[in-house]
């Protein structure tokens, strides 16, 4: 087995080949590339820096990742600005109507703008925490704009990657995830580019899963 691995040239030293491979061996990055070369390039750098942080901590790498992430974060907000506190007249009507279904004071406790906005945030956050969105084009609950971001054969690698994260990796992943999810307070869309802020995370975890299996 070791000889086989050596023949293929995939050793621990060549993990960068693995991350580049998984960053490019998916339809997602190419869909983004067709729309914006700049955005694709920034996401690619994000992926490499996130992956390298998971391998070894380095202040400069962290700075580079933070900068690239901030750029994509601001691009997302600029393109799809839709904050959760801005409710449409239909939303207000719904709140007022549902309030009448509760007894007396309870209506204003359970149905108000704050609760409605929080539910909106929940909807946005959980819409991207969906394995099928990334690996099966949201099938069997497709929307019109969904497309298969990664081939489904990579799903086991992704799951393996998630469950073999060490404590240190978990901290990095959780921080990235929380910052990425916070964007949905300010913006949201089911765009044809998908939730591209999560591209570095999914690619890095899939690559990590592959490497963990390979080196066992």
């Amino acid at each position: 087995m070791e000889a086989f691995k050596e023949k293929l040239g995939i050793t621990v030293k060549n993990k960068w080949v693995v991350i580049v491979f998984f960053s490019l061996f998916n339809s997602w990055i190419w869909v983004i590339l067709m729309k914006s070369i700049l955005l694709a390039a920034i996401l690619f750098i994000c992926t490499l820096t996130l992956f390298s942080l998971m391998c070894f901590f380095n202040g400069r790498v962290l700075l580079l990742l933070s900068s690239c992430f901030l750029i994509t974060y601001l691009i997302y907000i600029k393109l799809f600005f839709n904050p959760i506190w801005e409710l449409s007249p239909t939303d207000i009507y719904k709140i007022n109507f549902q309030r009448t279904e509760y007894p007396k004071v309870l209506g204003s406790i359970f149905q108000n703008k704050a609760i409605y906005s929080l539910n909106l945030l929940k909807e946005r956050v959980f819409s991207v925490l969906d394995l099928n969105l990334y690996f099966f084009a949201s099938h069997p609950r497709e929307n019109h704009s969904d497309f298969e971001k990664y081939n489904f054969v990579l799903l086991p690698l992704f799951i393996f990657g998630i469950f073999t994260l060490t404590k240190r990796h978990l901290k990095i992943v959780c921080f990235y995830l929380l910052f990425a999810l916070s964007v949905y307070i300010f913006s949201f869309t089911s765009s044809e580019l998908g939730p591209f802020l999560f591209f570095p995370l999914t690619s890095a975890i899939t690559a990590k899963g592959f490497l963990t299996i390979w080196t066992r």
């Binding site: 359970f110 959980f126 925490l129 394995l131 969105l133 099966f136 099938h139 469950f163």
Partner: protein
């Protein structure tokens, strides 16, 4: 600690209260499948036959879907004691939900030995979790199947100390396949996998394996004899995606070779399978079928994603105990049956999965709370999570589901039935949406002989192949069909329809008199009842 001797009964009481409180009023109305269960149980009590006249069927033809029989048979007990009503119909499911929580207590005690918070948290979550409340408060046979699966799991774990219990576990798991179709796939897989994992223990006493498998097959014999009938396979034939893929519906041009078929089959199965593990479906979006979902609430409360993840990480790194083995087997085997159907995220088919995930979330909740050092802060956090959860449950289930989904749950038919059965005239009901005759039969406590006489011995001799279904068109003075204006306006009768069935213009044109409007609980009109005026409205047919 002594306090747990009071806390655990309190949790059971909470579970019971949430499942039994206003059981006959929330959900408002009953669904056709529930009515069919209840009426068939009622028919068995009075005539020893189902609504079609079949004596003690192995599957109930019901509404053409050949329901699993166990829920209907056991329902005869509460219906005999309490009469045919919504409460007696649903109490079996509610008791099943409460028993599931109690059985989980015994299962957890086998693992943890001492009654403490490691046992408390999974039980607390099982008591209040949305999926269990929803399915315990309707006549869902899958909930009864889950109770049997949990009981079977308990005896499986016990059998490692007392091998004789393997026979009992096998019998109970076999029985679960009579409660819900998914268990026909899951129960044997669970039994075989558990025996295989612990084969070193079981092979010391091979006779127990032999007797347990023999009992399993013996109990399944009636189903095995009917394996080739259309009725036994009605559900799987209608619900699976194999046919569509083999016909090439998944390719762009309809042409598909065998490699592509294999690719699409594998892809389709894994997309359906993985949907049952998607955080979006488990914590937010829930079941697309409104009868199997709660407004603004999913299978689990949204905050449970964190303890569930922690629970997974906890047990993956630990030595595999019998409880962990049962949980993991349940988690990975339960969605297989649902994974071969084309319905997206059908929660009813994977209740054992949610049970196992809830216990894992309880284990993770213990790990989460352990991060908080101060006992008072830990207690406050736990109390806060419980209050938020119960608040969400109250809002979504006891208010919004009751009011906004009353129509979905068949609200209004009771009012039509009570109007129609006290009327001296015929009542024409235009209701293409459902086989509503069964609802009228249920509410009217109609004599089952009236329905049974419509089916002759030829029909009954081939009972299990009668998959071509059309609803009964008449129950006493209620006729269920579309309105034929030319004839119906000339008959002295009442006409009942949904708001869209008879417009105001039609009512004026055909000289109908509005007698009654039945409103939903949110104030929307659902049904209108009109009286015809043949003397005025009847137009003679052209010569």
């Amino acid at each position: 600690m002594k306090i747990y001797k009071f806390v655990f009964p309190a949790v059971i009481f909470l579970a019971a209260f949430l499942r039994v409180y206003q059981l006959d009023k929330i959900p408002a109305g009953i669904y056709v499948d529930e009515a069919s269960q209840g009426f068939n149980a009622y028919s068995l009590l009075l005539t020893s036959k189902d609504e079609y006249g079949k004596s003690f069927p192995i599957f109930f033809r019901s509404l053409g879907n050949y329901q699993a029989p166990l829920y209907t048979y056991i329902s005869t007990i509460p219906i005999h004691l309490l009469g045919l009503n919504i409460f007696s119909l649903r109490i079996l499911s509610a008791l099943g939900g409460i028993l599931m929580v109690c059985l989980s207590f015994f299962l957890l005690k086998k693992e943890y030995k001492i009654m403490d918070k490691k046992m408390l948290y999974p039980m607390l979550l099982l008591a209040i979790v949305p999926w269990s409340i929803l399915f315990s408060r309707g006549a869902f046979e899958a909930n009864l199947a889950l109770t049997l699966v949990v009981a079977g799991s308990y005896f499986l774990v016990t059998s490692l100390e007392k091998p004789l219990m393997l026979i009992l576990a096998s019998g109970i798991l076999a029985l679960s396949s009579y409660a819900y179709p998914s268990e026909r796939v899951f129960a044997p897989l669970l039994l075989m996998s558990f025996i295989f994992i612990y084969r070193r223990i079981f092979l010391k006493n091979t006779r127990y394996i032999f007797f347990s498998l023999a009992l399993f097959i013996f109990i399944l014999l009636p189903q095995l004899f009917l394996l080739t009938s259309s009725g036994a396979n009605a559900r799987i034939d209608n619900l699976n995606f194999f046919g569509e893929i083999m016909k090439g519906h998944y390719s762009h041009n309809g042409l598909i070779n065998s490699m592509e078929k294999l690719y699409f089959l594998v892809r389709e199965f894994f997309s359906q399978y993985s949907a049952y593990f998607s955080p979006k479906n488990l914590f937010f979006a829930s079941d697309p079928d409104p009868l199997r979902s709660i407004p603004h609430l999913s299978v689990f409360y949204w905050w449970m994603i964190i303890p569930l993840f922690l629970g997974f990480k906890d047990v993956i790194n630990k030595k595999k105990t019998p409880l962990i083995s049962v949980l993991f087997l349940t988690i990975f085997l339960s969605p297989i049956a649902a994974g071969i159907t084309k319905d997206p995220f059908s929660t009813l088919r994977t209740l054992p999965l949610f049970w196992a995930l809830t216990i894992l979330a309880g284990i993770g909740l213990n790990d989460l709370l352990a991060l908080v050092k101060k006992t008072s802060a830990r207690a406050t956090l736990l109390l806060g999570l419980v209050i938020i959860s119960l608040g969400s449950l109250y809002s979504s289930y006891f208010v919004l589901l009751r009011n906004e989904q009353a129509d979905t749950w068949g609200y209004g038919y009771k009012e039509i039935a009570s109007f129609a059965f006290t009327s001296d005239k015929a009542v024409l009901v235009d209701d293409p949406r459902w086989p509503s005759y069964i609802l009228f039969a249920f509410y009217g406590k109609v004599n089952p002989l009236i329905l049974q006489k419509q089916y002759n011995s030829v029909f009954l001799s081939d009972y299990y192949n009668q998959t071509k279904y059309s609803p009964t068109p008449r129950i006493e003075n209620i006729v269920i069909r579309p309105i034929y204006w030319r004839e119906d306006e000339c008959i002295d009768q009442y006409i009942v329809g949904r708001v869209l069935s008879v417009s105001q213009k039609q009512a004026r044109e055909h000289k109908l008199t509005e007698v009654k409007t039945i409103k939903s609980l949110d104030g929307e009109d659902i049904f209108k009842i009109y009286k015809t005026n043949p003397n005025v409205g009847c137009k003679p047919a052209p010569i």
